[in-house]
């Protein structure tokens, strides 16, 4: 069984965000990048499937600049078998549909049976790519998955609803699974894994190799990035706990009228 896993490289969440002069791009040069934590959950889930079934082969997909190789090696070190890298500079404009188109082509090219990915990435948090790939392929999808089981004819998943209920869903085996935090705890790569990762082959591709061109990659243009307005000063409520509590409740009831 060939399982595809998306490995996206994102800015470390502790980085402060800097903009270019025209304020229409986020500056990424020289900033620390990490593997999208949600994709790490996806890879771990694939590795667990492989432990249960030696027939499983794990192929990672990464779209990004040369710098993304570090993230790819991390995935190979954890136990992925092969990696595809669609090499693309940060400066190329691409939206979620463009990403989904590339992943669709990779799935078809690599004859992937099932795709695992994070339900979101921590930079744009769009939650779009997974269902878009499913829509392009006409495959089954499940997002926010916290439990995954594969049996002979189908896939069984659990995921949480808005009302904090749990849905149990049965899917066709050709499916796109977007995992959420809590599904597993990703393993650390072993030294053996790290050493052997460098010997594994990363297949490099350009979008033209997949029959795509730049104009298909985006239907959006970012006009302007801006920082949120500075919050006004915090009003500190003085006094001992009893006095401060009384004053807070008074403010919330009679001034803010929220209680």
């Amino acid at each position: 069984m060939r399982i595809g896993v998306c490995i996206k490289e994102v800015l470390d969440t502790n980085c402060s965000i800097r903009l270019n002069l025209s304020n229409n791009r986020v500056a990424t040069e020289g900033q620390k990048h990490i593997v999208n934590p949600y994709d790490e959950f996806a890879l771990e889930e694939a590795l667990r499937l492989k432990e249960k079934n030696s027939d499983v082969e794990i192929i990672t997909f990464t779209i990004g600049p040369e710098r993304a190789r570090e993230s790819i090696y991390a995935a190979l070190a954890a136990g992925a078998d092969n990696a595809l890298h669609v090499v693309m500079e940060d400066s190329i404009l691409i939206d979620s549909l463009g990403i989904a188109l590339i992943i669709q082509k990779l799935i078809e090219k690599e004859k992937i049976d099932m795709l695992l990915l994070g339900e979101q990435s921590t930079d744009y948090s769009s939650h779009e790519v997974g269902p878009m790939v499913a829509g392009l392929l006409g495959w089954a999808q499940a997002m926010g998955v916290s439990k995954l089981e594969i049996n002979m004819e189908s896939v069984l998943v659990s995921r949480e609803t808005e009302e904090s209920n749990i849905e149990i869903i049965k899917l066709n085996k050709s499916c796109i699974i977007g995992v959420t935090k809590g599904i597993n705890v990703p393993r650390y790569a072993t030294l053996k894994g790290i050493m052997s990762a460098r010997k594994k082959n990363i297949i490099r591709l350009q979008i033209e190799d997949l029959g795509l061109n730049n104009t298909e990659l985006t239907g959006l243009e970012n006009e302007k990035f801006f920082y949120p307005p500075e919050k006004g000063n915090c009003t500190l409520i003085e006094g001992d706990p009893k006095e401060a509590a009384a004053e807070l409740v008074r403010i919330l009831k009679f001034e803010e009228r929220l209680l």
Binding site: A100, H127, P131, M132, L156, I169, E223, P241, E256, L259
Partner: protein, 323 residues
């Protein structure tokens, strides 16, 4: 050319969700900007008697797809039916919410239609024939205004709890009932819904959220938050640190890798205010912080703050609310 803005209004348990009225308000303004009509599509069952609740938003036509099969949302049931409707009526704009339902449905739908979309917007406008959406990115550290560059339909989802509900004078609409045609071989099937352990308001739906951090050392300390939430009719949430320490369950976690809440009031006890937590909470209308540490970053986000022992202050607040 008739520029129709089509709203997907969410319902559940035979009632419209609160987000339906928020979206109707947003749609009303956008349709006016576009100088076009406002239509809505509703999928579910038993909603016929509730349609009148939608009369004050300038909606001129409602498509109602009714079937017992649609009582519970499932993407593989809903998506094909909505796709068929959109292909037929060719709206200019399609709007939904970036709820659990919206995140399942709209990206799949966009891809089926061959168009892009923008998710989780806090604003959408029509400016000189350009549709521009504004949304937070990078944990809310920065916002971006994005313009659609290709053709219609323009698809976007709106952040929950980001708009006030505003009504105008009541006006009638045409209701068109659409027959639901179930696909023979669905890609997926909803087998079962297990109700959550506690019957509680979801934190993403609540108007008041009371949140606890690691300073509340164990789940016993969290019980004071439940007591406060009960009195004010709110929901209890937690920071990642509290969840990791076992004081609260993961479904209560607010933050970048948890849920995004935007209540009218967010009261946090012993939460330091790290960027990753505030990414899930900074949409709150009013933030109150109680923390022992005067240098905690939370005070940069809070409107009101109390510096002191979190546990003691929580108890005093509960006493005051009870009196």
């Amino acid at each position: 050319m008739n520029r129709v803005t089509l709203l997907f209004l969410e319902s559940g348990n035979r009632n419209f969700k609160k987000s339906a009225f928020e979206l109707a308000t947003i749609g009303m303004n956008l349709a006016a900007d576009c100088r076009g009509e406002l239509h809505a599509v509703i999928m579910g069952c038993g909603l016929e008697s509730k349609l009148d609740e939608l009369k004050c938003f300038g909606i001129s036509k409602i498509y109602y797809i009714e079937s017992a099969e649609l009582e519970y949302f499932h993407v593989h049931t809903y998506a094909p039916a909505l796709f068929t409707l959109i292909k037929e009526i060719q709206p200019y704009i399609v709007l939904g919410m970036s709820s659990v339902i919206g995140k399942d449905l709209f990206p799949r739908l966009s891809a089926m239609l061959g168009v892009t979309m923008v998710s989780d917007c806090i604003n959408i406008e029509c400016n000189n024939n350009s549709i521009i959406a504004t949304r937070p990115v990078y944990s809310g550290k920065v916002f971006v205004k994005t313009r659609f560059t290709k053709g219609a339909p323009y698809i976007a989802t709106l952040r929950v709890n980001s708009a006030e509900i505003n009504k105008i004078e009541s006006s009638g609409f045409e209701v068109k009932k659409i027959q639901f045609i179930k696909i023979e071989k669905q890609q997926g099937v909803l087998l079962e819904i297990k109700e959550g352990e506690k019957k509680k308001i979801g934190i993403t739906q609540a108007d008041i959220v009371v949140s606890g951090g690691r300073a509340l050392k164990n789940s016993n300390d969290f019980s004071i938050l439940y007591e406060i939430a009960d009195i004010v009719g709110g929901a209890v949430a937690a920071s990642r640190a509290a969840v990791d320490a076992g004081c609260a369950s993961y479904d209560m976690q607010v933050g970048q890798t948890g849920k995004t809440v935007s209540p009218k009031l967010y009261v946090c006890f012993g939460i330091s205010g790290a960027v990753q937590h505030m990414a899930g909470a900074n949409g709150s209308k009013l933030i109150v912080a109680v923390n022992k540490d005067p240098d905690a970053p939370i005070f940069k986000y809070a409107d009101y703050g109390i510096i002191g022992d979190v546990y003691e202050i929580a108890h005093e607040i509960k006493k005051m609310l009870n009196s």
